[in-house]
Structure formats: structure tokens, C-alpha cells
């Protein structure tokens, strides 16, 4: 008995060890995925619930009526990713190159610190900063720079501010990890070989820290595409994103199959950057 058991566990240990993970993935990832995929092809019934027969009508609707909002979501996510990269890379570089370890640790701590507060509350705070009678407008009005309050809140701009602010740490941390592993002797070597500052950055440092950059971009772009809270609180009618329309389908008297079709489309949009990352960024990271 004991011998039989030992043989079994030895021979099949890789299966036994991975069983919990496989079970988890099947129950909580693959099965729901199929349910959502199937539901997206069903017809809307009473109260928005999915019923038979099957139809592709919801996909037609997603790619026609909803395309404007879909494009806006893609565009805003792309711009947010670029901005966080432009802010995040120099920030990570600056933190990494501080000589004093204490300064580095405190700076990293400050990057993570906002996570200690609820995301909803932090986003809400922007309403008070950007509002018509908010901090910025009041300051500009009082100092006489403007006569009429600027429309900052309830715009695409406000959504960009919210996304950039909310997801910046996701860009800084992976890049920091990459720069941390980067051996600065390469910089000296490149300089000895006559490379200028730009050359050193473009041809040595950036390629060697690219895995961190790609990881950061993926980590910012993906949650931006599906973001709901940021556009709900800051976007108003002008900054409506696909996540808001999706959420509406699952409320009372919405349209579950349409919501499922929207989910499938968003999922496909998210898979593209991940595939890109796995192809080009996954090797060292």
C-alpha cells in the first residue's frame, strides 16, 4: 500500500501538485469565460436576462452604436499609458540613482503610499480639485487669470488625469525593478566607447530595461480599458467609457447578453497587449 502510494506520488507528482491550480483555473477562469462567451450570443429576455435562441445581434450593436465609445476608451487608455510612461520612467530612474539608500526607500514608499487609501476616495478627491468651484478654478479665478470657471471636470481631460494619477505606480514599480537590475557599468562601457548621452539611453539602457517598460505599459493599459470608477466619477457625459456602458447592462432591466458581448470585445482588446508583452517582454521579466 505504502509502496504503491509512494510510486504514485513520485510518478505523478507534477499532476498532483498542479491539480489545485488547474482546478482553480477551470472553475474560476475557463468556465466563466465560456459562460460569458455563450451568453453574448443569446437573446435578451424579460428583465435583461439571457434566453435562447442564439444571435450575433449584440456584436453588431457593439461594433456600430457602441464603436464611438469603444474608440474613446482605447484612445484614452493609450494616452494614459504614454503619459504614465513619460512621467514614470524618469521618476524610476531618479529614485534608482539616489546614492542614499534611505532616500530610495522613502521615495519608493511614497510611490506605494496612495494604495493605503481607497481608490474610490482618491478618485473622488479629484472632483474637488477639478470642479467648477473646485481648488484649481477658485485659485485661477481669485488670482484673476480667468473670468469664467474652466470646464475641467466631466471631460475627457478629467478622465485622463484620473487614469494617469491612479495607475502611475503600476508604471513606476516595474520600471524601477528593471533599472535596479541594470548594471550601470554598461553605461560607463558605452561612454568609454564614445557613445553620447542619447546613444547610451536609446541603445543601451532602454533596450535593457525594456521588459520593465512593457510590463508597466501592460499594467496601465489593461485596467484603463476596463476602467469604470474613474470615468463614472470624473468623465460625466463627455468622458463616458465602455466600462460604464457595460456596467449598465447588468443592472436591473439592462441587457445581460449585450453586456456579455461588450465583455468579450474588451477581453479581446486586452489580450492583444498581453500577447505582445509575452512575445517581446516576457523573456527577462
Amino acid at each position: 500500500m505504502a509502496v504503491w502510494l509512494t510510486t504514485l506520488t513520485r510518478r505523478h507528482s507534477h499532476w498532483l501538485l498542479s491539480a489545485p491550480a488547474i482546478l482553480w483555473l477551470v472553475v474560476f477562469f475557463i468556465a466563466p469565460l465560456f459562460i460569458v462567451g455563450f451568453m453574448s450570443l443569446m437573446t435578451r429576455g424579460t428583465g435583461g436576462l439571457p434566453v435562447m435562441p442564439l444571435t450575433t445581434a449584440h456584436y453588431d450593436r457593439v461594433f456600430t452604436t457602441f464603436s464611438g465609445v469603444l474608440n474613446r476608451s482605447l484612445w484614452l487608455s493609450f494616452v494614459a499609458t504614454v503619459i504614465t510612461l513619460l512621467i514614470g520612467y524618469p521618476m524610476a530612474y531618479y529614485i534608482r540613482t539616489r546614492k542614499n539608500e534611505w532616500v530610495r526607500n522613502i521615495a519608493l514608499f511614497l510611490v506605494i503610499l496612495p494604495f493605503w487609501t481607497n481608490f474610490l476616495v482618491r478618485t473622488y478627491a479629484w472632483r474637488f480639485i477639478l470642479g467648477r468651484e473646485g481648488f484649481i478654478n477658485n485659485f485661477l479665478l481669485n488670482t484673476g487669470f480667468i473670468q469664467e470657471p474652466l470646464p475641467l471636470l466631466n471631460t475627457e481631460f478629467a478622465v485622463l488625469v484620473g487614469l494617469t494619477y491612479g495607475f502611475l505606480p503600476f508604471m513606476v514599480l516595474p520600471i524601477y525593478a528593471s533599472i535596479e537590475r541594470f548594471d550601470f557599468k554598461f553605461v560607463e562601457a558605452a561612454q568609454d566607447l564614445g557613445a553620447g548621452n542619447w546613444s547610451v539611453f536609446w541603445r543601451v539602457m532602454l533596450p535593457m530595461t525594456l521588459p520593465g517598460v512593457l510590463a508597466g505599459c501592460v499594467l496601465v493599459f489593461i485596467p484603463s480599458i476596463g476602467s469604470y470608477v474613474t470615468s463614472d466619477l470624473l468623465g460625466g457625459t463627455q468622458g463616458l467609457m465602455i466600462g460604464n456602458l457595460l456596467a449598465g447592462q447588468f443592472k436591473a432591466s439592462g441587457n445581460f447578453p449585450l453586456g456579455a458581448a461588450l465583455s468579450v470585445v474588451i477581453l479581446s482588446l486586452v489580450v492583444i497587449p498581453i500577447a505582445f508583452y509575452l512575445r517581446f517582454g516576457g523573456r527577462e521579466a
Binding site: T46, G48, L120, R127, R132, E133, D232, T237, L240
Partner: protein
């Protein structure tokens, strides 16, 4: 008792809840019990009652005092939409005795046989105090399953410093030159467009729905958002006009301790919601459930419920008792003048054309943002 319950509103709700509580006098339990005329009709000692309710839809001490009067214990559970209540009961009543359905869901709940009939003979306090205005509603003309509880309205809340002309018509809302916030609820918004166009607010004609959508698109240039945060959009100066529920505005006035905001039901009319109290099919303790419903309509008990929730009551005895806070009773945003009550309409189920409404609403949101 609104279907839109986001975390955000919870934050705002907690703030206003705190302020409502501080506005109330705090009597000891003995003092409160002395003011309650209702007596426990029989010996229920040691029994249990299970109540399934909206959160913040009762007085601060309502349950506690009932437990003391009948020597029973009450188990509470909460739901956040009429639909979740109905779904829970469709799946099989897990043991709830008393539930609080909101008007239109009675249609579905009666159809699905989810409620026990009410015997008004066992509810003397209800019969003595309820305002007959709230009986015989479209969803239960014979009051077979429904006992009136609280009501509320949907209307226009606005900043009087920004909107100089008092608002009397929906057309003023659409024409306002300044930021306006709508509610993210298609039945309410489409009904407003329909009544403004002189059509039936519960229209089931797909052409009317398209007309209403186009009307809102043309007249929605001044809309900045669909209620992300209710009354704070008025308080922060973000919007001049907010379409919302009357209790929302009352709580804003309570918070700001000011007179800057007004609430009105426009001449074309707007939606009313009536919350009922009923016994769930399969209730385990019907006599105790009846006793509880009857107790709720004791004038003092009901006045405290209105004082806590800021929802007007359907109970005339409570209104006449003097127990309702002056600032609530005399506030035209809470207890509407009679002529405004007459303009109210119910949002009735439109299941046959629900998809047309939902689609038109998505389209409105998408194209308004262009």
C-alpha cells in the same frame, strides 16, 4: 429606497445619516414606549420575526421598541433593489415574514404568487391612521397584499442663486443655460421627456420611445453627467440643477443649514414611488407579522420613521400627531402641497418594450457625449 446604490452614495449617505440622527431628539426607551399607543395584541413572548427591508428604511429605535413591547426578537436582513427582493423570493422564501416591496414590483410579485393576502381586520391601527389617498393603487386595487408605508417623489432640485426664475416646468430645465445633472435611470428620464411632449409617461409605443430619446438628445446639451454622487453635485456648485428624489434634497438642506436650494414637481408631473409593507408567501409567523405591520402605523412609531428617513409617510395619524419634525412637515420638498401630489404619476412596468427603452437609453448616453 432607490435602485442605484453605489459605494459612493454610501459614503454620502453615511454623512447625511449622521446629520439626520443628530437632528433628532433622543428619548430613553421608557419615554418612547410611553408615547406609543399601540399595544401588543397577544402574547408572542419568545417568538421571532424575520424582516427583509431596504437599509435605512426604518426609525432608529423602531425594531428595538417592538421587541420590547412584544417581548420578541426581530431578525433583519437587507436588499438594495425591488428586483433583488423579488428574485430572492422567487428562489424560495428562506424564512422572511415581513417585506417592503416598492410599487411596480407588486405587479410581478402578485403574478408570481410571492405574497400572503393581508387581512385588514387584524390591522386596526393601520385602518385608523392610513391616508386613503394611498390605498387602491394600480398595482393592487383591492389592497389584497399591500399596506401603504412611505412614499417619495422624483423632481427638480436647483440652486436658487444660480437659477433666478423659479422652476415650474420641465422645459425650463431643458432650456437652462448652465450645467444640469440627470439621473442614470431610463424610466424616469424617458417619462419626463414623454410628459413634456404631452405623451403617456408609461408609453409602450416604440415610436414614442424614439421621440423621447431624440427630444432628450436635442435638449440635453446642458447635461454634464448622470448622477455620479447625487446631491453633492449641487452642494459643490458643479451643477445648477439636479434631477433627483425629494429626500435627497431635504438631506442637502439639513446638511448646509441654508435656504439656497429648492425642490419642485413641475406642472407636467413627475414620478412618485410608494413603498408598501407586506407579508411574504410562506412566512412562518403571520400573526406576529401582522402585529408588526400594525405597530409600524402607530402615529408615534411612524413619525419617528419619517423623522429618521426623511421620507413622507402615508399615515395621516402621524402627520396630525405633532411628532413629525417641524422642518420636515413644513418642507414643501418632503410633504408636497396637494396640487403637486395630483400631478404625480407612477412608473408602471413596461416589460414588452423594456428592451426598446434600454437600447434608446444607451444610444442617448453614447450620442450625448459626442
Amino acid at each position: 429606497m432607490k435602485q442605484v446604490t453605489t459605494l459612493l452614495m454610501l459614503v454620502a449617505g453615511l454623512l447625511l445619516f449622521a446629520s439626520v440622527l443628530t437632528a433628532q431628539e433622543d428619548l430613553s426607551q421608557a419615554e418612547r414606549l410611553a408615547k406609543i399607543a399601540w399595544v401588543c395584541p397577544q402574547d408572542f413572548s419568545g417568538q421571532t420575526l424575520s424582516v427583509y427591508n431596504w437599509s435605512e428604511y426604518m426609525g432608529k429605535h423602531t425594531i428595538q421598541d417592538f421587541e420590547a413591547l412584544c417581548n420578541v426578537s426581530v431578525v433583519l436582513d437587507y436588499y438594495d433593489s425591488n428586483e433583488s427582493l423579488a428574485v430572492r423570493l422567487v428562489q424560495g422564501n428562506p424564512g422572511f415574514d415581513v417585506v417592503f416591496p416598492g410599487d411596480y414590483i407588486y405587479v410581478f410579485m402578485r403574478q408570481e404568487n410571492l405574497l400572503e393576502p393581508i387581512n385588514y381586520d387584524n390591522l386596526p391601527t393601520v385602518r385608523a391612521n392610513v391616508d386613503p389617498r394611498w390605498l387602491g393603487m394600480y398595482f393592487d386595487p383591492e389592497n389584497e397584499f399591500y399596506v401603504p408605508y412611505l412614499w417619495g417623489t422624483f423632481g427638480v432640485a436647483y440652486n436658487k442663486n444660480k437659477v433666478r426664475e423659479p422652476i415650474t416646468s420641465w422645459r425650463q430645465v431643458f432650456a437652462h443655460n448652465g450645467p444640469v445633472v440627470w439621473i442614470d435611470d431610463y424610466r424616469n428620464m424617458f417619462s419626463i421627456a414623454l410628459v413634456t411632449l404631452g405623451l403617456d409617461p408609461n408609453s409602450k409605443n416604440p415610436e414614442d420611445i424614439i421621440k423621447a430619446r431624440d427630444f432628450l438628445l436635442e435638449n440635453g446639451k446642458n447635461v454634464i453627467a448622470f448622477t455620479p454622487g447625487f446631491k453633492d453635485t449641487l452642494a459643490s456648485g458643479e451643477a445648477d440643477i439636479l434631477l433627483t428624489y425629494n429626500a435627497e434634497l431635504y438631506n442637502l438642506l439639513l446638511e448646509c443649514q441654508c435656504d439656497d436650494y429648492a425642490y419642485v414637481v413641475p406642472v407636467e408631473g413627475s414620478a412618485v414611488d410608494v413603498g408598501g409593507v407586506s407579508i411574504a408567501r410562506g412566512a412562518r409567523n403571520i400573526p406576529l407579522a401582522e402585529a408588526f405591520i400594525d405597530y409600524l402605523h402607530d402615529p408615534y412609531v411612524m413619525a419617528q420613521i419619517t423623522n429618521t428617513t426623511a421620507y413622507p409617510t402615508t399615515n395621516r395619524g402621524a402627520i396630525e400627531s405633532g411628532y413629525i419634525l417641524e422642518e420636515l412637515l413644513n418642507n414643501p420638498a418632503v410633504f408636497l402641497p396637494d396640487e403637486e401630489i395630483e400631478r404625480l404619476y407612477f412608473l408602471q412596468p413596461v416589460i414588452e418594450v423594456e428592451e426598446a427603452y434600454a437600447n434608446a437609453w444607451d444610444e442617448l448616453k453614447i450620442f450625448l457625449g459626442r
